[in-house]
């Protein structure tokens, strides 16, 4: 049976990972028709267009619960609660993953990769040369304290890509780092609490954001994340704070975790934000399609496939029982971090209203791009948006 598979991945490590799935799918006698629309090319709308246009894909990469709700409303939802009974839900999955799979009390998503949105990846070579040990930083302030020294050596301390979504990710990673889960969920949760905007932690998020911005190099504007990663790989920069899919780039460059590069959570993090890339299944399909879709789902969550997939993509397996021997130092570190349910939050994309999340991105990115904008301005703007969108 032919499955139409919609996703937004196109970087080489991502493609390699998809090929793992494809190989297994084809082994079951099904075929894969690809629709790839890279992120951020005005194309997120396309999944809904495909649905609206009457050509919905059988499988689609989507974390936003709203989409699942809308599909269910349209009679195209495919609840997976029964299916996952045979696939170790919920005990075999880290807490963050297990949570993310559920939409309105039904398991709807098939998790495929676990990432932490704000990880610090640094070049060990450069660190050694500069005589700095990032792992020793206990707080963000300690980290910034070393920046002058790094700059003096002609190295960019922190590489960032000045694109809206990268800044947006950095913002929510900082929110998790500084405020912890409760604070985070008051901002990004399903029902945000406006009181949180007046807390000192919220100010701190923007204060640090400004510091990051000031540390950015001049070429950062509108730079892709992977080009940014490359600055670190080539030793032009010391480190990057971004989703840990960065690892794919390192691996593709032939580097080894723990030897060429190190990975730590943001210094002093109270929590980390976990991204779970998930697949959704199209409901209301004829039996053969439905079976093939379920085959695909079981491939995705198969522990062995998970291990292989994670290795290719640079992610961490979503199953705790995936073979650990092939995991590298960074994945092990991630698993260590997410083992504590109190130390993690979910990627806003999986929990908040798209409009609201996007409005925070807007503010954060404007704040980032306009050095004259004060923290007060930013907070006022967010409050205003809250009133418009959710109030």
């Amino acid at each position: 049976t032919d499955l139409v598979i919609y996703h937004t991945w196109s970087a080489p490590p991502e493609v390699a990972a998809l090929n793992v799935l494809k190989k297994n799918l084809e082994a079951k006698g099904d075929s894969w028709t690809d629709i790839a629309i890279p992120h951020d090319t005005g194309s997120n709308v396309n999944l809904m267009n495909l649905v609206a246009g009457g050509n919905p894909p059988n499988l689609f990469m989507e974390s936003n619960p709203g989409v699942y709700r809308d599909l269910t409303k349209a009679g195209l939802g495919r609840p997976l609660t029964d299916f996952f009974k045979d696939h170790g839900y919920p005990d075999k999955y880290p807490d963050a993953v297990a949570h993310s799979m559920v939409v309105d009390d039904q398991v709807m998503k098939v998790p495929t990769a676990l990432h932490i949105d704000g990880m610090v990846y640094y070049s060990m070579d450069v660190a050694k040369k500069l005589g700095i040990d990032p792992a020793a930083w206990k707080s963000l302030d300690e980290m910034f304290a070393d920046f002058d020294k790094i700059k003096a050596a002609g190295v960019i301390p922190l590489a960032v890509g000045g694109q809206q979504w990268q800044v947006g990710y950095l913002t929510h990673a900082l929110a998790a780092t500084i405020g912890g889960p409760d604070f985070f969920n008051k901002i990004y949760g399903e029902k945000p609490d406006p009181a949180v905007f007046d807390t000192p932690e919220f100010r701190q998020v923007f204060d640090y954001l400004r510091k990051f911005q000031q540390a950015a190099d001049e070429g950062s504007a509108n730079r892709e994340w992977n080009l940014t990663t490359n600055l670190v790989i080539t030793g032009k920069a010391l480190m990057q704070i971004h989703g840990d899919w960065m690892k794919g780039e390192w691996l593709a460059a032939g580097k080894t975790a723990g030897k060429d590069f190190g990975c730590i959570q943001i210094p002093g993090a109270k929590a980390v934000a976990a991204s779970v890339d998930s697949w959704g299944l199209l409901g209301g399909q004829p039996a053969d399609k439905d079976k093939a879709e379920l085959d695909f789902a079981s491939i995705v969550v198969d522990p062995n496939v998970q291990a292989e997939f994670a290795k290719a993509k640079g992610s961490t397996p979503v199953r705790l029982d995936a073979p650990q021997d092939s995991l590298d130092a960074c994945s092990k570190e991630v698993l260590r971090i997410v083992a504590d349910p109190k130390h993690q939050v979910q990627n806003p994309h999986a929990i908040s209203d798209a409009d609201w999340e996007n409005s925070i991105w807007d503010v954060a990115f404007n704040f980032w791009s306009d050095p004259d904008m004060s923290v007060d301005d930013a907070i006022a703007k967010i409050k205003e948006n809250y009133t418009t969108i959710l109030g």
Partner: protein, 298 residues
Amino acid sequence: MQLRWSRMMPQLALAPAVAVTFVAFIGAIGWTAWLSLTRSRRVPEYEIDWSQWTRQYERLFNDAGWAISLHNLVILGIGSALAIVFGFILAAMIDREWRGESFFRTVFLYPLAVSLIVTGAAWRWIFNPQLGLQNFLHGLGFTSVSFNWLASPETAMYAIILASIWQSSGFYMALMLSGLKSINTEIWSAARLDGVSFWRLYLEIIIPMMKFTFITCAILLSLGVIKAYDVIVAMTNGGPGNSTWVPAYFTINALSAKSNIGYASAAAITMLVITALIFLPLVLITTWQQRRANGGSR
């Protein structure tokens, strides 16, 4: 009276176009207008809460992003207007100088053929501070020049304007050339005999004579400006910040990133209204003037 096919046939032949106009344009505009009054998010809803039917518009007019978009629209419009001026200068020079006319014409026209995706890639690379023009100039010793236009909210719009001028000047040049060529050759002869100076000839005679060409260009240009989307995506994707947003970008962004069909519809309808406000007077004045000009010469 019996049915005359000679009268029916043209109307039949027009039927598809009429259908398209009424379904795909008028109907669709109505549909979108309706949606803009609803609370539709990712999926359209068709119920209107009449007590709050302007909610999307209220939000829109309070949205700083929208304000920036409108502001940029004006900047882009004014900046791109340089393409008309530039196109006219090129046309005037090519027209005067017969040497290499076809060569220059081709060179000035080719950017039209190139996709904006490609254009964006090329210009972005030229503006790239590490590898592009700036680095090249620094290498030559001009270390004070900064071509990192795309990085700063103040200058990013100018980079976009530069690229769009590069892309469209050739087209306006072609239009202007046709305008120049349609001027009676005897006028040029008369001016030469009268010894009219270069500047006075162009300023007082040629340019006023090409009024309609200029208006045509202006209309086409504003059309392009209002629809500008690809070039923004390719060059800056709206950034830095949302400093290079324009209404078309805002609308697609509302549809995709914000997943808000109602809001996007409101933005789209507002775009339409702006278009109408700019063009209807312009078009009416033009047709009126044209009619008067024709009537006068008869």
